[in-house]
């Protein structure tokens, strides 16, 4: 079941009141929510509910197994390795079995062995990456002694909770499970924010992403040779917006749906194209995945503990593996290497600057101390539509006003960095979207060649510019708009919400366009 469908709308209209009605009885609510989530997942293919159930039971067994071996580090480690292997094994089976089987057949053929390994009759289960990553975070956090195992039913609610089941955000056990202990307060639901996120997500996902895909992105990457240089450049910008609108739109809906059920999710996107560096970009793009990669892959590889070279290596490995997770293709390797290399270069420059200033610590990201703000602390930093104020973030210290010329230079420098970062990210998106390296190079070649405009659609340009500009709208402005909506009467709020649905229905595509990240 996908969010932007009539079927899901009916499902949610039934689940929302039922959830609040069963809330006073903890056990009943848990059973209801697990059942509802399984119905949601069965809406795609009921057979794969067994896979989800297997993941719940299997990971709970691993978590308890690890926890019970508190004093036997060797056994604890073995259980952890088994858990990781089992999870990645299942994920790898569904994602790469066909590729490996055919490749093995080709290898056997080259060796003169006329045997083709059977090609598994598998379809990649929707959302398998997301719930596998969540399950891994649970087991690894138990292994790292950050949490104790939860009761099976709680864990089942956590892993199968339908708002985040198929496309994230990747919510950690430590973020979700405590919310099960305190009963959600039916007198205080963030209705306005929830509806805002759902409506905005619908428009981004169904209207903006689909429009750009149909009008320029798909045709460009299908036949790059038929597009002029300017058109190709706009097409690449459009893909940057498309993938953002598609992905952030879906996770916005997930966050909004959960809010109305009384649950909080972590923020997943924070105006990523306002980033002033790649490091900043990864703090703003798919934030729940990037911290997952950091905590369970980058740190697992050793993080920055083995010296400078090892740090660079780990950065590169993390991003390349992150790229390969999207699929067994060289395009994803290049995308990952581009980001890994970029992060390493940024770090090297940061350290060099720090050494020149004689401050070895300043190259080590001083803004990353616990409790410190993780957004760019520079003044007048643009905010996203929501969520830039951090829990526990200290107020910004008052500083002595800088001379106007210095402020001007700093601002200009920030815009140059922002522009460079955006284009570097776009360069990565070309490889991410293209079917092959040759295709990516052809798209880039069209841009570099500077061929004339062939058939540039002004509406496409307008949408791209508007979506980019929207990232620079301050969170305060967005909050004020939302507050105006909140102050409306119920009929006005209902009418506004229904109007959004009409716009989405009238401007959206025929049928259901799958979410880009379902394939991952």
């Amino acid at each position: 079941m996908l969010f932007p469908t009539i079927r899901f709308a009916i499902f949610y209209c039934l689940v929302l009141p039922a959830s609040w009605l069963t809330m006073p009885r903890a056990l009943r609510w848990r059973l209801f929510m697990v059942a509802a989530s399984f119905v949601f997942y069965a809406g795609w293919d009921w057979r794969y509910t067994f896979l989800l159930a297997g993941s719940i039971v299997g990971n709970q067994v691993f978590a308890i197994g690890i926890h019970r071996r508190a004093h036997d580090e060797g056994a604890r480690r073995s259980w952890t390795i088994a858990a990781v292997a089992a999870n990645l094994g299942v994920l790898g089976w569904y994602k790469y079995a066909g590729f490996l089987s055919e490749s093995a057949g080709g290898l056997f053929s080259d060796l003169g062995i006329g045997w083709q390994p059977p090609i598994p009759d598998v379809v990649l289960p929707v959302g398998i990456s997301f719930f596998t990553f969540q399950a891994l975070s649970y087991v690894l956090d138990v292994s790292r002694r950050k949490i104790h195992p939860a009761p099976l039913l709680d864990f089942a609610v956590y892993l199968s909770f339908f708002p985040h089941l198929v496309a994230g955000p990747i919510v950690r056990a430590a973020e979700f499970l405590p919310q099960l202990h305190g009963r959600r307060d039916p007198r205080s639901v963030q209705t306005s924010l929830g509806l805002w996120l759902i409506a905005g997500g619908l428009v981004k996902k169904v209207v903006v992403a689909t429009y750009l895909a149909d009008r320029i992105v798909d045709p460009l990457f299908a036949v790059p040779a038929e597009h002029g240089g300017v058109e190709a450049l706009v097409g690449v910008y459009a893909y940057a917006i498309q993938i953002y609108a598609d992905f952030s739109g879906y996770t916005d809906m997930a966050i909004g749906l959960a809010l109305l059920l009384g649950f909080r999710f972590p923020q997943n996107f924070d105006a990523p194209y306002t980033a002033v560096s790649l490091q900043d970009f990864w703090r703003r793009w798919h934030m729940t995945l990037s911290r997952w990669l950091r905590d369970y892959l980058y740190i697992g590889l050793g993080g920055n503990r083995g010296g400078r070279r090892r740090t660079y290596r780990n950065l590169m490995l993390t991003m390349v593996l992150g790229g390969l997770w999207h699929g067994a293709a060289w395009t994803f390797v290049v995308w990952g290497a581009l980001h890994g290399g970029g992060l390493a270069v940024e770090r090297w420059f940061g350290e060099r600057r720090a050494r020149r200033r004689g401050d070895p610590a300043s190259g080590e990201a001083p803004d990353l101390a616990p409790g410190a703000p993780v957004t760019d602390p520079a003044p007048a930093a643009p905010g996203p539509g929501y969520g830039t104020v951090l829990v526990g973030a200290p107020p910004r210290a008052a500083t002595t006003p800088a001379p106007a010329a210095v402020v001007h230079d700093v601002r200009r420098g920030r815009w140059l960095r922002r522009l460079a970062t955006f284009h570097l990210v776009c360069l990565g998106w070309v490889f991410f979207r293209a079917e092959s390296i040759d295709d990516a190079l052809e798209v880039l070649g069209r841009i570099a060649g500077g061929q004339s405009i062939t058939a540039l659609n002004p509406v496409v340009v307008l949408v791209v510019v508007a979506m980019l500009a929207s990232q620079f709208v301050s969170s305060g402005t967005v909050s004020r708009v939302r507050d105006i909506y909140s102050s409306w009467s119920l009929p006005a709020q209902v009418a506004a919400l229904a109007a959004v649905v009409v716009v989405v229905d009238a401007l959206g595509p025929e049928g259901i366009v799958p979410f880009i990240y379902f394939q991952f």
């Binding site: 955000p169 039916p186 205080s188 923020q267 409790g371 009418a495 009409v502």
Partner: protein, 422 residues
């Protein structure tokens, strides 16, 4: 679950919705209270402190909740439910036409009947008071108007393109394995004598259009890429997901093609249908025609013949692309029947070419997601759904598509060099 206590950090809230709507001046208070669970990691402190680079802090205290922004708009759950349900009801009236369309698109059965029983009265009510007009106006304004539909296929007055002879084209790649899985038993046929075609040039290229259901999608893209270097061919492609010949109530393809083809004035029409046609159909009298029955076979044959005749008008060449082996059991069986029907009907029409993709995509008669490229490296020729051709698969197929018309349309030889300037 228990979050392990840590001695070094002050407790912090993990769950923070306030118990009441905050006043404008006290929003920050809304982000406090309720659970106070310490999330410190006593066993991990040094480790995490040392390895947080290059991303943000690992500490749970710095989680950026999506709803951290203080705002108005806290309501009771009842109000939230009321808003959602009322908005859903109003949107159902405003979008009643879409609801009926979505209901009609369901496979025949109880679900569809129930959906229609709900959606049709809504549409009547919506039309009675004009609530459907805003959506209609918006859709027409943006060119997103609906496509033609009919319950059992519009009865078109189209001349039959049949004669007693036929044209059958085998793919360019020789088939090393059996192709009998297509279910066809027709003997090889011969080409009838037809008037010769013109020779396209870069100045006056061959006008080619490609239509179909989602099966056509990546095949059309692959073909477009293939003919990028062929200036003598100009291609227009259009496919509609979730359509086919079984469900004219979703999109009446013969009527649609009859309506739009004159505007393109094409010389060659490629067609690909069948990906969604392994289902019941509806007869003109409204009765159901169950899939797999002789009646279904007769009706599907009629529809295939009709769409071929529509496409073949004005002496156009029609290339019917068959359905290769798929990785879905029911459709894989159904496609044998549908391929056989298409092959039979093509054999009756001299300008209709039946193109068999088995030799390219299923050289040994079975489904392959990956196939070796000419250099031996495996390429993914089919999508993960086990049905659709991937873009590389479309590129693999493209030479066969072009070869199907190359001889007839004098495209085998390279284009004549441009005359030298005087």
């Amino acid at each position: 679950m228990t979050i392990i206590d840590g001695p070094q950090r002050a407790p912090r809230p993990l769950v923070a919705p306030s118990r009441r709507a905050p006043a404008p001046g006290e929003q920050s208070a809304a982000a406090e209270t309720i659970d106070t669970v310490d999330t410190a990691e006593p066993f991990e402190t040094d480790y995490t402190d040392d390895t947080v680079e290059p991303f943000e802090s690992v500490d749970l205290d710095t989680i950026r909740w999506a709803d951290d922004e203080p705002a108005l708009g806290f309501t009771s759950a009842g109000r939230a439910i009321g808003t959602i349900l009322a908005a859903f009801a109003l949107a159902s009236l405003l979008c009643a036409d879409s609801l009926v369309l979505a209901a009609e698109r369901q496979p025949f059965g109880t679900t569809r009947d129930v959906a229609l029983a709900v959606a049709r009265p809504l549409r009547s009510a919506s039309h009675a008071v004009g609530l459907h007009l805003p959506r209609l106006w918006l859709a027409e304004l943006t060119g997103n108007a609906e496509l033609p539909t009919s319950s059992a296929g519009e009865d078109l007055d189209v001349p039959s393109a049949t004669v007693a002879t036929a044209t059958t084209v085998e793919p360019t790649k020789p088939a090393p394995g059996p192709t009998a899985t297509t279910g066809t038993t027709l003997p090889p046929t011969t080409t009838t004598t037809l008037p010769p075609r013109r020779t396209p040039t870069a100045e006056d290229p061959l006008r080619v259009v490609m239509f179909g259901d989602s099966l056509m999608g990546h095949m059309a893209l692959g073909f477009q890429r293939h003919v990028t270097s062929e200036p003598r061919v100009h291609v227009y492609t259009e496919y509609h997901v979730g359509t086919g010949l079984a469900r004219p109530d979703v999109l009446d393809w013969p009527a649609y093609l009859n309506q739009i083809l004159p505007g393109f004035n094409p010389e060659v029409v490629y067609l690909a249908f069948g990906g969604n046609d392994d289902q019941d159909m509806q007869a003109a009298d409204g009765s159901r025609i169950p899939y797999g029955t002789p009646e279904w076979h007769t009706e599907y044959t009629r529809r295939v013949a009709l769409v071929m005749d529509v496409a073949a008008q004005n002496d156009r060449t029609v290339v019917w692309i068959n359905i290769p082996a798929v990785n879905r059991e029911r459709l894989n069986q159904a496609k044998d029947v549908m391929n056989a029907i298409a092959r039979e009907q093509a054999a009756l029409r001299p300008r209709v070419v039946y193109l068999d993709l088995y030799a390219v995509l299923s050289p040994d008669g079975v489904f392959h997601e990956y196939l070796p490229a000419p250099d031996g490296t495996p390429i993914r020729v089919r999508e993960g759904d086990g049905v659709h051709v991937s873009i590389p698969g479309g590129e693999l197929v493209a030479p066969s598509l072009l070869a199907a018309i190359a001889t007839e349309w004098n495209l085998v030889a390279p284009p004549a060099p441009a005359p030298a300037p005087p």
